[in-house]
Structures are given as structure tokens and as C-alpha cells.
Amino acid sequence: MDVFGSFTLLLAFVCAIYALVGGIAAIVTRHPLLVKSTRQAGMATCVLIFIATFSLEYLLFTDNFSQAYVVSHSNRDLSAFYKVAALWSGQEGSLLFWSFLLSVYVISVLIAYRNKNGELMPYVGVVLAGVQTFFLILNNFVESPFKTLATVNASGALEPFTRMDGNGLNPLLQYPEMVIHPPNLYSGYTGFTIPFAFALAALLARYPGEKWIHLTRKWTMIAWCFQSVGILLGAHWAYAVLGWGGYWGWDPVENASLLPWLTGTAFLHSVMMQEKRGMMKVWNVWLVFCTFMLCILGTFLTRSGIVSSVHAFANSHIGPWFVAFLGVTFLVCFVAYVKNRDYLKSENQLDSMISRESSFLFNNLLFLVACIAVLSGTLFPVFTDWLTPSRISVGPPFFNKIMIPIGLAILFLTGVGPLLAWRKTSTDSLKRNFGWPIIVGLLCGVAAYFLAYRDTFSIICLVLCGFVFWTIVMEFYRGAKVISARTGMNVLLGAHELAMRNTRRYGGYVVHFGMVLIFIGLAGSAFNSDVQRPMNLGESMKLGPYTLVLQSADTKAEKNYTAQRMIVEVLKGNKQLMMLYPEKRQFQGNEQGSGTMVAIYSTLREDVYVVFAGMDQDTNLPVIHAFLNPLVKWIWLGGVWVVMGTLLALLPNRRAQLATALAPQPAASPIVQVLNPSVTLREGHD
């Protein structure tokens, strides 16, 4: 199976080269057969990559310990669940997984548009084949996952051998979220290849209008959603597994995942300027280019060892390959832009400084500044290493100081943007739209103060959360009221109808609501507290309003590990709330030792987060480290709303379907119909 996997990967590389070179020839010659054959070569590449990936999974599932990758990342006792995850736990496997996910997108695009957009698709196919070729070079010639173990025999020849068992999977990865976090994050990274391919193809082909934006909108949202979920799952994994009581440590690898998310979010907003007003065409194209290049840069940072991180893969020699690919990508994008920049001529006109357009411009500015700040902070230690004799660390305090104000400004614009009209917003409209949200925001601030959340940034954050929340409520309520008046349905059903009629806009508001919840959770981090001490059985310690009693300890033997478990009772006053079981696991057959399993009692108000931090060297008593982390649950709830909002935005509009059905009916006077007096018109709509 290893030879088979290796062969299919090589064949995939040949097909990708054909799709790339043949695709360029097809564009030049416009020969229909060549166009068709290169498209089919692109599809064959994907199928062959699928087969190679399943071959590696087969080797993992059948415990083929003649394979270096299987020995390094699996063992006999590893459960089937984690054998799936072993695919992306090592450098070689994760690069193959990259190719696999990219192929899922590529084959979907090639099938979905096989008979459409004939002028554009050959260009798209070439760009996609180019990206696939790069990853197949890595899969075949740099980091092959199909390496057989061999030893040198007496005669000096290589002789294959098989190990009895493998080293096992890294204990930190043996957690359910690690089975779903990397696929989500990689789906985000790879997903941004599709809007990149369409943007570059449209520029190269000088494809008319905003069609490429309409074609890629859903792909961008899907990639963005995966990236968001991947980031949040990673944060939850860090919270629940690493045992340091936090969820975001501004680690270089975490930052690398945030960079394309920031530019991708900026693109999702600025693209509306192009769709509505024909503005910012150059900006949008470069935002997509940058998002893709940041995905590649993030992968480079994770895998090259250029920045130190606990999350990073082992140092390898693939760094120069990524640098070369980034260089080629930038060069192609730059040349395409310079040669075709007249195609991107925009109809840039603004009526007023106080308008939706301006808010989008400032929104984009803040996202970009955030992105550059995170990037420069992440790379600053590397620069100081090169330019000065001493190396500097750039840790969480730096990022917090820089990013908190930027995050709050973005949150402010999240509330302001929807209240401003396209083109121009009148003073009356400002008063009407901003009054109640400001009052609600201030009330939230007062409530936070009396609930003892007394930290300047936290109070500002909660004020803004109240402000944004009320703007969203108002948007839904006003629209629902109109529908309710027209149809007689109640306001809640009206809100549902409203959302289904313009899924993109109201899905966006649901995403904003999710972000409000996430910010509420982040505001709580200023009030984290912790206590750590060795405890005797029956002993208790106070943690805020809670009492933790160490009731007993036991040992639990599982197939792949042995866990030493503390049984900690959580009391509030005299009321027993929960029994928590923090663990320390010792994995068998694993050279990487032990891992923790945090126990959390989670409520909307706070998390009681208990870690068994090992045995005290002096007293030989178990050390319990307990954290009281307010409002953390809101972050995960916010993530759920972000996903729901994105899914809503991906649905087709109900009104659009009706309009299509009614299309043949002649309209006497469109202007008169539009100005139907029964409809309450107002400024500020999308």
C-alpha cells in the first residue's frame, strides 16, 4: 500500500503539471479539446490525491510499522478515532492533508462550473493547478509520507525492517478537539485558494463586471467560517488541555491562523463596496491576494521553525520552498496587476464622510492595522535576531496592549456600520438610530460596574457590546415590524421571514451577535484569578465564592494511558455543585510522556477550572491549581452563533426565489411600485 500511495502521489503530480502547462496552452490556443482535457487532468489530480490520502490512513489503521510515518505518529493501542487524527499530526501527513483538502475544493469548483463561465474557468484551473503542483512537489520530493524504514546491512545495502510497535501520538493531540480543530483550520487556509484563484483569473482574463465576486462570495464565506471555527476550536483545545488557564496566548502559530482571518474578514466587508457602488476594485483584489499569501505565510511559520512555538511542527528544511512559492505568487500577482490595472478602474465617488462607505473604509483600515501589528509583533524577534546582537521576546502583554484598543474600535464600527446609510447619513437619521443603542450601551456599563467588573477596558468593551447588541435588535425589530404589518404574522415570525428574505444581510447580523458574545467573554479575562497549593485528602481551599475539597484520588487504566485522577468537590456555601476529576495521564509507548486533563465547572458567570499540576516535591502531596475565569463560556457560545450566522448567510434568499417565479409578470411602473407608500423606508439598509 505504501508503494501504491507513493505511486498515486507521483501520478497526481504529473497530472497537476499537465493541468498547469496544458491549461496555459489551452488559454493561448483556445483549443476546446485542450481546455477539456486540462480540466479533466485537474479532476484526476484531485482523485489521485484522495487515493494517496486514504492509502496513508490504511497504513495507519493496519499498524504498518514498516512505515516511518506510522511509527512516528501511531501505536497499536491508539484508538481508531485518533488514528484518523494521526494523518495530520506530523509534518509529512499534514502536508498531504493540505493537498487533500485543497483537492476537495478544487474538484468541487471544477464540477460546479464545468459548463459555466467558459472564458474564466481555464484561468481558474491554471491557478488552482499551480497551487496544487507546489504542494505535490512537497508531498513527493521534500516531505513524503510514504518512507519505508530501512537499515544498512553488513554488505552496505539498505534492508527494510519493521518495528514491533510505534512511538504513539503526541499526548497533547489525544483530545477530541484535536481531531476536528486542524481539519477546520486547514479547510480555512485551503478554502481561501478559491477566491484567490478567481480573483487572479478575472484579472488575467480581464473578465467583465463583478462576476468573480458573485462566484466566490460563498466560497469565501465557507473558508472564513472554517477558519473562525478552527481558531475557536484551537482556543478551546488550549483552554481544556494545556492547563494554563487561558485560551489565547498570542503564540506565533495562533497568530499565523489569525492573520488570514483578519484580511478575510476585511474582504468580506469591503467586497460590498464593489458590489453596491463599484468601488475599491484594486483594494479587493489585493485583499484576496494578501489573504492567500498570509495562508501560505502562516503555514511557513508553523513548519519552518523560523519562530519558536509549542504548536509548531519539528524544524525541517521546507522553509525555503515556502519562501520561493510566496515569492513566485507575489510576482505573478504583481505582474498581473501591473499589466491589467486599467481593468480595475473603479467608480470611486463618495457623497459624505458619514456614510456606510466610510465606515467600511475605516473597518478595513482597522483590520489591516490589526493584521500588520500581529504580523510585525510575531516576526519582530526574528528581525532583532538578524539586526541586533540580542534577541527580544514579544509576548502576550505586547499584543494585548496593541490589540485591545484595535479590537474595541472594530467592535464600535460593528455597531455603527449598519446604522449608517449608503452614500450619506442625515443628522436626523443619526439621532434616530444612535439614541437607544447608546442608552443601552451605557446601561450595560453601569450594570458591569455594579456587578464588580471594574476594569477600564472591560467596561468599555461591555458598553460597546450593549451598543452593538441593540443596533442588531433594532435592525431585526424594524424589519420584522414592517413584515408583521403587511402580513399579520407576529413579530418573531416576521423576524424569521425577514432573515430568510435577505439571508446575507441578516446572517451577517447574526455573526455580529456572535462576535458580541465573544467580546463579552474576552472582557471577563481581566478578572481571572487563581490559587495553587498542595492538598491533603479532605483538605479544602477557597476560590472566590467557591470551596474546593479534595475528596480522594484514584488511578484509572485505559488502553493507551494510565491516569492519576484527583476527585475534587466544588461547593458554593454549603451547597454541593459538582465533582471534578482533573487528571494527569501517562501514555504508553510514547516517548513524549504525559499530559493533563483539565476539569471545568462552567457557568455563564464563570468557570471553575481545576488542574492536577503534579506532586509537590517537598511534601509529596498532590498540587491543585484552580482558576476562576469569568465569562469564558460566552466565547464558545459566540462561536456557535458565528457558525449559525454564516450558515444563514449561505442560504438562498426566499424573496429572490419568489421574484424569479413572478418575473414574467409585467410591471406598469417600477418607480411607483418601489415607492409603495405602505412600506416604511429608512436609511441604513444594506
Binding site: G245, S309, D351, I372, P381, I392, W422, R533
Partner: protein, 202 residues
Amino acid sequence: MINRSVANGVILRLSDKVRLGDSGGTGDSRKTSTQNISTSFCSSRRRLIGPVLTLVLFAVLPLFAQQQTDRVKQIGGKFMCMCGCGQILTQCNHVGCTVSASMLKELGAMVNRGDSEDKITQTFVQEFGTTVYAEPPKTGFSLIAWLMPVFYFLVGAAIVVFFITKWRKQMPAPAAVAPAGVHISPEAYERARSQADRETED
């Protein structure tokens, strides 16, 4: 780890004092039960010193211990754990990290000794180099790290304002906005456009 050692130290000292106080108190009460109960005001005041001091120490020591712990957390929050995990010293809790444990022990000892923050920082920088700082110092080359985001923002804001101003100048006269032949006020036309935009949005 240091929190733990500091706490242990406090518990020991505290219990020692409590025991001393108790014994002193018992001795005094035994004496006061004899015929010398009203010898002089001065001697009774002297006898009260022991229990009062004990009570004061009992009240002050936990506060002192809490202050020491808070100081360890506050100063420790400014350093990185040097094991390469990239975490703040006081937050590093990853399994098997011996570096943070010894660093915290050292920090706790310096705090207990009453060393100033500057002295503690100097000691750590001498021991581990400038990478021990959790954030770049606001001096020398490192100042660039702090100035860069502000610079990006100011340049970006200037560019945004420049383009907004430029695009506003490109705005055609209002009369040209309404199509010829349609007798409708610009305001009503604008509202119609916005509704059309809204309703034709996919």
C-alpha cells in the same frame, strides 16, 4: 510554584507566631491570677504587649503574605518562561516544565528578600538575556515594535482620509444623478434606489 512556597512559608511563620502568642498569653493569665494583680499600671501594660503584638502580627501577616504573592504575580507577569513554550512565567503550567518552577522559586526568594523590581529584572536579564522580557523594552531598537502599529494606523488613517476627500470631489452634480425623464425628487429617488438595492440583493 512560588505561590505555593510563599504560602507554605507564611503558614509556617503564622503558626509559629500563633503558638508564641498562645504561650505568652497563658503565662500572663497565670501571673494575673495571683496577688500581684494591681501592682502598677506600667507592669500590666508591659504584660499586655505580648498578646497585642501577637494580635497585630496575626492581622498583618496574611496581608503581608498576600502582598508578596501579588508582587510575585505582578513581576512574574513581566517575564517569559524560558523553556521555549512562549508563555508568561506565571502562566506556564505545561506538563513537565521544570524551568518555570525554578524561575518562580528564584523570583519568590528575591521578592521575600525585598529586592526592588529593577534589581529582579536585572538579575533575570543577566541570567537569561533580553528574551526574558515578556514585552519588548520601550528603549533602543525594541521601541520600533511599539511605534510600528501606531505608525501603520496613522499612515492608514491618512490614506483613508485622503481617498475619502478625493472621492468626494469626484462626486457629480446632484441633478445628474436622477435619470432624465423621471420627475421625482432626488431624495425620493435616493430612497427608491436604496430600496431597489436592498430588494435585489442576492
